[in-house]
């Protein structure tokens, strides 16, 4: 009787129904990534077919109306802004987390933590707007035109700082309690505890936080669009305007047709390649699911 699966009718039919629905939902959820990739590739194909991949890096410039599709300036722009923002935000973010957990008095730590959480929730368009109305005029006074690589780096650094800080903080929080008790037992000073035990033990978590922040930086659109000037050329100084891959899409998608539209999907594809690389890096750094 136990062997015949169908005998106990009601529970197992309900269960099969439930499990079926859940599977449908989860397949749908995982299908989205597939659909995104499919549409990126599907819409990129016409232009790739037409002119090939190499043109996207070897053409003389980005002038889609004249069939010139050089994406290198945008790629360089994206990478430069990401690098600059990471150089600023990674140390500051990690210092923030250390401050909050090991240095700040309780009251200040609570306040500081909520400030960081608040920062993480501010919409990117608000960051962009702030950069546009306060930061850009300041930079303009120093070295026109103001909308520049530097403006992008500064605003983006503030945007991704909470990502670094919150993940670093979570890493510290997840360290085994014994580390701290052991250190207290040996009456190690805070500085020794930090440099000899805590930082080495959280290396992979910190690395993950920086990689995820890099992913966020590479994907940011609105703030960059508003403050970087959007000129499609490789910048020659911190004060020259740049255009990123993301801004390129946002700027031209509204009117692009034919090969031009297709080339914008190629930009999207390029972004996805970078994101894939970063996510697999993060996986390797975190040895498992980064979001676990």
């Amino acid at each position: 009787m136990i062997l015949s699966n169908g005998n106990i009718l009601s529970p197992s039919t309900h269960d099969r129904f439930l499990t079926g629905i859940l599977w449908c939902f989860s397949l749908l959820a995982s299908l989205i990534l597939g659909l995104i990739l499919f549409f990126l590739v599907y819409n990129s194909l016409p232009v790739l077919w037409d002119i090939g991949i190499s043109k996207f890096f070897l053409d003389s410039s980005w002038h889609p109306s004249e069939a010139l599709f050089n994406l290198t300036p945008m790629l360089v722009g994206s990478l430069l802004i990401m690098l600059g923002a990471i150089l600023l935000a990674a140390p500051l973010g990690i210092v923030s987390a250390i401050f909050c957990r090991f240095y700040a008095p309780k009251v200040i730590a609570v306040f500081y933590q909520s400030l960081i959480e608040l920062l993480s929730g501010i919409p990117s368009v608000v960051y962009g707007f702030w950069g546009l109305v306060t930061l850009v005029p300041l930079i303009q006074k120093v070295n026109p035109p103001g909308t520049s690589l530097l403006a992008g780096i500064i605003v983006l650094a503030l945007m991704i700082l909470p990502t670094v800080s919150l993940i670093a903080d979570a890493t510290f929080a997840n360290l085994p309690k014994e580390y701290f008790q052991g250190a207290a037992g040996l009456s190690l000073s805070r500085f020794t505890l930090l440099t000899q035990i805590i930082l080495p033990a959280s290396k992979s978590g910190l690395l993950t936080s920086v990689i995820l922040a890099a992913g966020r930086a590479i994907g940011e659109t609105m703030a960059i669009l508003m403050i970087c000037g959007n000129i499609a050329q490789i910048p020659d100084s911190l004060f020259s305007p740049v255009r990123t891959l993301t801004a390129n899409i946002a700027l031209e998608m509204a009117y692009a047709m034919g090969n031009h539209r297709s080339a914008l999907f190629v930009s999207g594809l390029l972004l996805m390649v970078i994101i894939f690389a970063l996510v697999s890096l993060a996986h390797r750094a975190g040895k498992g699911s980064v979001y676990a």
């Binding site: 990126l40 500081y112 368009v125 609105m222 994101i275």
Partner: protein, 294 residues
């Protein structure tokens, strides 16, 4: 005094160097924190002080005129609400279902479960502008929904799904394993285990996930430029184009000369909205949900 003695550095040159390093590092860390605080205070106070002047009941209840330079933002708030409603109505059931499947039904070592998890990990990293491209190609063009509230909502639904699933899963993780074993040992079906044992305990996690999803969706701009559109009047149907708050700010500051004052006020409104939403999420008591969810 004794404590002081033990932690004071040994004498000699190395000791002096060590001392400087210790004190120096404390200084650097405090400086860094003060710097970050000052920087963010600058941003927040700028928005609050400049936006405050224009904030009034009328601003929230009137339609924009003169391309948004005058009037209010009522239709924009309505569009924002509608896009959010679609987004959550679609993504919440799917997210909840996936979370239940991943945390309660598939074995942790199952191949399919692993694949779904991995695809969600990548999905969480996809830039919002790429969601915009996808939404434009799929919902607007292929499905023929055009620039509409519906397209925008569906695009956002795809975008918030990974956050939703992750925090909902976190909620299910709060259910003690003893309860699950107990239910299984009684031969309870999955359906009743879910309804009577799992869901009641997991509800705070679900609500927090929902609220976080709303917070992420309301802040989004790039995914909506090419999906929900720019039109700033009241939308007449789900298939009508509608302008959300974040796009309104973008448009006022970039394309409308003299739109700055209202852009400030709109930014303040958006800031307050996001703040309220995120505060709700953490008040539900699951601050730990934000780990990796930022």
């Amino acid at each position: 005094m004794l404590k002081q003695d033990l932690s004071s550095p040994p004498k000699g040159f190395g000791g002096v160097f060590d001392f400087v390093l210790r004190q120096g590092s404390t200084g650097v860390i405090w400086l860094g924190a003060i710097f970050v605080t000052a920087w963010s205070m600058w941003l927040i106070s700028d928005i609050v002080f400049n936006g405050w002047a224009g904030l009034s009941y009328d601003f929230l209840t009137h339609t924009p005129t003169n391309a948004g330079r005058e009037g209010g933002i009522a239709p924009i708030l309505v569009s924002t609400g509608l896009v959010l409603a679609i987004c959550m109505a679609v993504s919440f059931p799917i997210g909840l279902g996936t979370a239940i499947l991943l945390s309660e039904i598939t074995a942790t070592d199952s191949w399919w479960g692993g694949m779904i998890r991995r695809s969600l990990d990548v999905l969480a990293g996809v830039p919002s502008i790429v969601f915009g491209l996808f939404g434009n190609a799929f919902f607007c063009n292929i499905l023929g929904l055009g620039f509409s509230i519906l397209s925008g909502g569906l695009t956002l639904a795809c975008m918030v799904l990974p956050i939703l699933i992750r925090s909902t899963e976190e909620g299910f993780r709060a259910v003690p394993i003893a309860q699950k074993l107990g239910a299984s040992a009684l031969g309870l079906s999955r359906l009743s285990t879910l309804f009577y044992i799992l869901l009641p305990i997991a509800v705070p996690g679900l609500i927090a996930g929902f609220v976080l999803g709303v917070g992420r969706a309301v802040a989004e701009t790039a995914a909506l430029i090419f999906t929900s559109g720019y039109v700033d009047r009241y939308p007449e149907s789900w298939l009508d184009s509608g302008r959300v708050l974040s796009i309104h700010i973008y448009d006022l500051s970039m394309n409308i000369a003299g739109g700055e004052a209202h852009a400030y006020t709109s930014a303040l409104v958006l800031l307050i909205l996001v703040l309220l939403i995120n505060q709700t999420a953490s008040h539900i008591g699951l601050r730990y949900l934000r780990r990796g969810v930022t």
